[in-house]
Symmetry: C2
Subunit: 237 residues, 2 copies
């Protein structure tokens, strides 16, 4: 009886561990499996596995923390961005998921300072684009507008995270409005039937401070305001 209680308690503990550690850990997974000997979790091999996983999770925590500090960058140093880094950004873009894997995009790497300057003049709010070492303009196939905007957001986010991890900074500049988009397409040689909303500026960041006269306020809404459980308006369980 005492033995059974002990087993039940250990199984509960193992279950708790399972939800805390990476489930790819074979040992912890076996520990959860009712049909197998959960005590295998406490062999030396398992302890090592668990330690490896804790290390992996710590690494994940570090990267996630880093990811949460990605900010829109609008002030850049003049230094160019190395080709290896550009390649890494494009590879991050290339592997981004999309609706039914259609990959409805084309990436225009703009390093021509004159072109960046011209694009930056489309509207006052994106004048800062002129200071970026390069831009990656996203050209969409011209399919379903909502779906493509969603996929554009996905690929942009990947590139911004990748840039940040490489020690670079990036910021999205929207052309905004049919007239500006048409002019951007003309400047970049993009056919009229394609969609072009935005360009991701990339460069060596000076600061995430918004230099514009009407700066965007930083920070984020508190978790309690933006999260519900199971039904809208339900707080944490």
């Amino acid at each position: 009886m005492t033995m059974t209680n002990g087993v039940a308690r250990d199984r509960r503990l193992a279950r708790r561990q399972l939800t805390r550690f990476n489930p790819f850990d074979r040992c912890l997974h076996l520990a959860y499996d009712e049909s197998s000997d959960y005590v295998r979790c406490y062999t030396n091999e398992c302890v090592e596995e668990t330690e490896k996983h804790m290390e992996k999770l710590n690494n994940a925590a570090t990267v996630l923390k880093e990811m949460n500090t990605v900010r829109q960058i609008r002030q850049y140093r003049p230094e160019p961005v190395g080709q290896e880094m550009v390649d890494a950004l494009l590879e991050a873009a290339r592997w981004t998921g999309s609706s039914r894997n259609t990959q409805p995009w084309h990436f225009l790497v703009v390093t021509d300072a004159g072109l960046l300057k011209d694009l930056s003049q489309l509207r006052t709010s994106i004048n800062w684009l002129a200071d970026a070492a390069l831009g990656i303009a996203i050209v969409l196939d011209g399919g379903d507008a909502t779906q493509e905007a969603y996929d554009e957001g996905r690929v942009t986010e990947r590139v911004m995270i990748a840039a940040h991890l490489l020690g670079l900074g990036s910021g999205v500049a929207w052309f905004l409005g049919a007239e500006n988009e048409a002019e951007a397409k003309r400047l970049l040689g993009i056919p009229a039937d394609r969609t072009a909303h935005s360009i991701i500026a990339v460069g060596h960041p000076i600061t995430s401070k918004d230099p514009r006269p009407n700066p965007v306020r930083g920070g984020r809404k508190p978790m309690s305001e933006i999260v519900s459980h199971n039904r809208m308006g339900n707080g944490a369980e």
Copy 2:
């Protein structure tokens, strides 16, 4: 004269290093600065700094490689996702950038298996949603459709990357169509004036194989097909 040539060559070398290493490296940055003594790059302190940066870059390369393996997951183990991990996913979502930092979103954490089952029945292509431990439905404020879909894509990408880094898997399920969206909103108690396109399924992954009768083909287009330089259609320079 020889001295000058040497300086010029070293400066070129420093420049090359600068574009290869992280520019936050104070030493390498000074090396590039015409007005400062570029030889400071070769002090012991600088060598250490450079080594630290190479380590940082190697770490970045590892994480980027990992990011490029994120896939849509549609097959999950039944184990629940620990609260710490859910919190980490929500924190990743919360810190995502959005148009003028409007954060036009609300996140509905759906753990109720009955609700997930009901949502999975909206159309055959998302039946797999029923097997996820939880879903994070994204509710948008109902502003500009293109802008909000773009922001939805951004936040979804962050959550998917975060899930992957935590050893979890995730997959987007679209409700698709006005009727399905209305039914999803009814099920989740979302007011009619909000927008609800999709839910991110999250769980412990079994495989990234698409189990549906009409599976999506994996892989990605080659770089040469999706990248141009400065003007659409220009290959690598």
